[in-house]
């Protein structure tokens, strides 16, 4: 393998080796089986050997559903490739099932004649019953269509650890590591990274570290020495652009983006948040970064969270609040105060399945219209969306840029799929990140005399951005009052004047429209000059759309794509771009929310492609849709 990492196993002899451009592997087991750890270890190692990759965890909704039940199944899917990829893949080529429930729940997705590794030890009466199996699938031939590898994982693990200073319970917990070792062999992966990780993780419990390392190696050698697998897979490294990389989760990247924005703006970061799936980890991440001057305020509810952020913004902080659908609904009234007070604020919505409590652990894109319109009165706000786990970093910087430049609350849309999914991230040069410095109003400058005898005019605007001055408490001579009642233009005094109201409604709208001036022209991937079909996407559908469009083009179909970072305002040239194509397709994990905005704005009969199942699009689904639209049947 073309990697400077040494491979512990001598190159295989006995086994034939198949080369693959990409492979999708899913680890599935009980929530207690450590599938998330197993998956992420395989991910890190694969990253280190240079594959491009993309991952997708699938947690159960319950904290700890009863062991052995369908509800308790936890899964982790990773796709590794020798080329640039953007999704965790549709169906797995390899499925590791740690118990009957996992098999029952996940088998449906496994590709025909896919590789299936099961822990036979768990396939007893009780577990089979819990999973709802009438007969044992390992025996009734129902798995004939797959390459089945039944392994006594538990037994083998126990045997490996005979005499180790651990109770059986702890020993059994290591069986996922045994499986991991086998899979490492299967894909010719080095063990060092995981060994190193185990030693770090169990630094305080050396006996546990030793045991796990031993089990890992035994699993590897077991696969090597026994004839259990006829075949070994190889996936060459992908040719990634030079640079320093790490594997990153969406919420981590988003948190880092906010910290970076704080550094680049010189403003202290304040997060007002109330825990909610799948946004909570933003609060967790940021609460651990106090050395960056980050303040995290776990409020009593979402209203207090956004309110506290507004207070911090009034005081001159880089204010952020984060939640998911139900919490965002609660923030609407206070967000509207920020709209009227014209204070910078970033509202992060990590979308999940709705309506109401809906599907907390599943993903969806169904809050677009909520954040666009869900406030009383005419209340426009800029909206930006992240399109991949790593992109959450850039999206956060862009949201902050707009908020500070225009003194306006900005909504940043992510979703559960991005939040918990991961991909390799090429680390940016800190120095190359956008300069977000702001200038507070100071006595004598900005605002200045408002003509009507007031010392300071809190609503005198920057002619370019229409931003009002940011005069923070503590600044002598700029004492002023703001609030939620309609403001008089320039002075900011309360005004009930009809003409003034219409003017202010106009100004707030125009200010948001002006944001479009600062965003780059629409990038068309494919045929910029136009063609039969344009696929327009936003948010986490990027990967699936990209893959589908590439494949369709390889099939010779005239299809291009546009992926929107800015959903409000839309790019100035978008209407013209759409006009260059015969048809426009908009795949969304909702019932057609962007489609509605495009139809209303451009009067183009865009074709919506809704998927509302709480899970991401498959590349194949979009490809199929493209084919039918273009009458390309195969």
């Amino acid at each position: 393998m073309s990697t400077v990492l040494s491979d512990p196993s001598e190159r295989p002899r006995a086994h034939e080796v198949e080369r693959f451009r990409e492979v999708v592997i899913r680890f599935a087991g009980d929530s207690g089986d450590g599938m998330q750890l197993t998956g992420s270890q395989f991910t890190t190692t694969s990253a280190l050997v240079g594959n491009d990759l993309s991952t997708l965890p699938d947690f159960p909704a319950e904290i700890r559903a009863p062991a052995g039940t369908m509800a308790g199944v936890s899964a982790f899917q990773v796709r590794i490739a020798d080329h640039d990829i953007h999704t965790p893949g549709d169906q797995p080529d390899v499925l590791v099932a740690m118990n009957p429930a996992a098999l029952m729940k996940e088998l449906g997705d496994l590709k025909p004649s896919g590789v299936l590794i099961v822990n036979v030890d768990e396939f007893n009466e009780r577990n089979l019953a819990k999973a709802g199996y009438a007969s044992n699938p390992l025996e009734d031939g129902s798995l004939a269509g797959y390459r089945l590898y039944p392994v006594e994982l538990t037994t083998l693990t126990r045997r490996t650890l005979e005499g180790a200073p651990l109770d059986t319970k702890s020993k059994d917990r290591a069986k996922n590591v045994f499986a991991l070792g086998m899979v490492y062999w299967m894909f010719s992966r080095p063990l060092e990274p995981t060994i190193g990780w185990l030693e770090r993780k169990f630094a305080r419990k050396p006996e546990l570290a030793a045991a796990n390392v031993q089990v890992l190696k035994t699993g590897f050698n077991f696969a090597e020495t026994t004839e259990v697998f006829q075949v070994r897979y190889e996936v060459e490294p992908a040719r990634l652009a030079p640079g320093v990389y790490r594997n990153v989760l969406g919420n981590t990247a988003l948190a880092l983006g906010l910290v970076a924005a704080s550094r680049r703006s010189g403003l202290p970061l304040f997060l007002g948040a109330y825990p909610i799936t799948p946004a909570s980890s933003l609060l967790h991440e940021l609460s651990g970064l106090k050395q960056f001057g980050v303040t995290t305020f776990q409020a009593e509810d979402e209203i207090a969270a956004v309110s506290a952020a507004i207070g911090a913004s009034f005081g001159g902080a880089l204010a952020v609040t984060a939640s998911s659908g139900p919490g965002i609904a609660l923030k609407a009234e206070a967000m509207n105060l920020a709209v009227m007070a014209e204070l910078p604020l970033v509202v992060v919505d990590v979308q999940r399945g709705g309506p109401s409590t809906g599907l907390p652990t599943k993903t969806e894109q169904s809050d677009l219209l909520q954040v666009m319109f869900g406030r009383n009165g005419e209340s426009p706000v800029p909206i930006v969306a992240a399109s991949s786990p790593a992109d959450c970093f850039d999206a956060a910087l862009e949201a902050v840029r707009i908020a500070l430049a225009h003194m306006v609350p900005v909504v940043l849309l992510s979703d559960g799929y991005l939040a918990n999914g991961s991909e390799p991230w090429r680390l940016p040069e800190v120095g190359a990140l956008p300069d977000l410095r702001v200038e507070f109003a100071s006595n004598g400058h900005s605002g200045g005399a408002s003509g009507n005898g007031h010392a300071f005019a809190p609503y005198r605007r920057n002619p370019e951005t229409l931003a009002r001055p940011w005069a923070v408490p503590g600044t002598a001579g700029l004492e002023h009052r703001i609030g939620g009642l309609e403001k008089e233009d320039v002075t900011g005094n309360v005004s009930y004047d009809p003409a003034n109201h219409e003017r202010m409604v106009q100004l707030r709208a125009e200010k948001v429209e002006r944001v479009a001036r600062g965003i780059p022209p629409t990038a068309v991937h494919g045929d910029p000059e136009g063609g039969d079909l344009l696929v327009v996407g936003w948010g986490s559908t990027a990967g699936a759309i990209e893959g589908a469009v590439r494949m369709a083009r390889e099939e010779g179909l005239s299809v291009s794509r546009v992926h929107l970072r800015h959903l409000n305002p839309l790019p100035l040239d978008l209407g013209e771009v759409l006009g260059r194509f015969e048809r426009v397709l908009v795949p969304e994990m909702n019932r057609g929310q962007l489609a509605l905005l495009l139809r209303a704005r451009y009067l183009i009969d865009v074709v919506g492609y809704p998927k509302v199942q709480g899970r991401p699009f498959f590349r194949s689904e979009i490809l199929a849709k493209i084919r039918t639209l273009l009458g390309a049947t195969r």
Partner: protein, 351 residues
């Protein structure tokens, strides 16, 4: 954050704005405004360091009339907004002006949490026992049986006892005064200003339009002496008109009014006020008509770590231990690898 002007001695006039005050003629809010405007300059703090934050209500128009930084926010959220400001800017003097509906109805949760957290806010609750701005519906402090626009046959629920609620929430400073008792109100405001943590001050305020004379049982000349007892740290609880002075004594845990002076019980038997005693604070919160006088003054004042101090300490501590964070290192946390120009991959951040 910004250079502070050297502050010449300020006067009440320095805290008055050019805005026309728009409360009804005779509204108790005028008296409270006067008291605040005259106490602020006494505090010797630069004007630009004051911030007055309110919700919605007649009382919440307060910031418009104070020449400080001000924020007339939304209904009930002032304590939350003020908390965010105070936590991120501890050096500011953050005062909250709110009403009984704003603070105890829609804003009840934010209030009790601000008090529990001990965020250094000075919360002035104008209690007129009615919704003024919306024209006279009953409020959570309206007495049971109250007939209002929204309760034509009388309300059927018990009101909150704001002092008891604040104590139940764990407030470190709880006090009560009255709009027109200027000297007492000013002294109470000074005490609140001096308290490092969250200070909750209930101010009886007359709404002469929708709930006139709600407090006449103490504010009417003839009642003033007999109907209120002033809580003064270290002093016994005595009250009543010259002729008939009374004191408050405990029968077990039950307070009772007893005559003092010649013929009466000796001062030694009376309750000596201690604003740090939780049981006494609770006891005082229960005092009031018909049998006992209404307590005015500071029910509770105990020092405790403030929320913002705690937050600041953790940030400073983190910086001491980890140095003030390097963004570069932060981004490179965890397993990183380097792809070379030649596509070769090496573990760690090479070069």
């Amino acid at each position: 954050m910004t250079a502070e002007a050297v502050t010449p001695a300020l006067t009440a006039k320095d805290f008055a704005t050019d805005q026309e005050v728009r409360w009804c003629p005779g509204c108790g809010d005028y008296a409270i405004l006067k008291a605040v405007q005259s106490v602020f300059p006494e505090l010797g703090i630069p004007r630009e360091r004051f911030v007055v934050i309110s919700g919605i209500g007649c009382s919440s128009r307060f910031p418009y009339y104070m020449e400080t930084y001000g924020f007339h926010t939304i209904h009930g959220r002032a304590p939350a907004i003020a908390s965010g400001l105070k936590v991120s800017r501890p050096e500011l003097e953050v005062w909250v002006a709110t009403g009984d509906g704003d603070a105890l109805s829609i804003g009840g949760n934010h209030l009790i949490h601000a008090l529990r957290r001990n965020v250094g806010l000075k919360i002035l609750m104008f209690n007129n026992r009615i919704y003024g701005l919306t024209k006279g519906q009953y409020s959570p402090t309206s007495e049971r049986g109250k007939r209002t626009a929204s309760t034509p046959s009388g309300s059927v629920d018990n009101p909150f006892n704001p002092l008891a609620l604040a104590l139940g929430a764990g407030a470190t400073f709880v006090a009560r005064s009255v709009d027109i008792y200027l000297p007492h109100l000013k002294e109470t405001l000074r005490r609140a200003a001096a308290h490092p943590g969250a200070a909750f001050v209930e101010i009886y305020q007359n709404c002469n339009i929708f709930n006139d004379r709600a407090f006449s049982y103490i504010t009417d000349k003839e009642n003033r002496e007999s109907s209120v007892v002033y809580l003064e740290h270290g002093k016994p609880l005595v009250f009543g008109d010259k002729g008939a002075r009374k004191g408050i004594r405990l029968a077990g845990l039950r307070p009772e009014a007893v005559p003092v002076g010649d013929g009466g019980v000796s001062p030694g038997e009376l309750v000596v006020w201690d604003e740090t005693d939780p049981q006494l604070a609770w006891l005082a919160a229960q005092l009031g008509p018909p049998d006992l006088p209404t307590p005015l003054g500071v029910l509770r004042a105990v020092p405790d770590l403030t929320y913002e101090q705690g937050v600041l300490a953790q940030i400073e501590d983190a910086r001491r231990r980890q140095g003030d964070g390097s963004l570069d290192e932060l981004l490179r946390r965890g397993d990183v690898w380097t792809v070379g120009e030649d596509g070769a991959i090496s573990q760690g951040a090479a070069g």
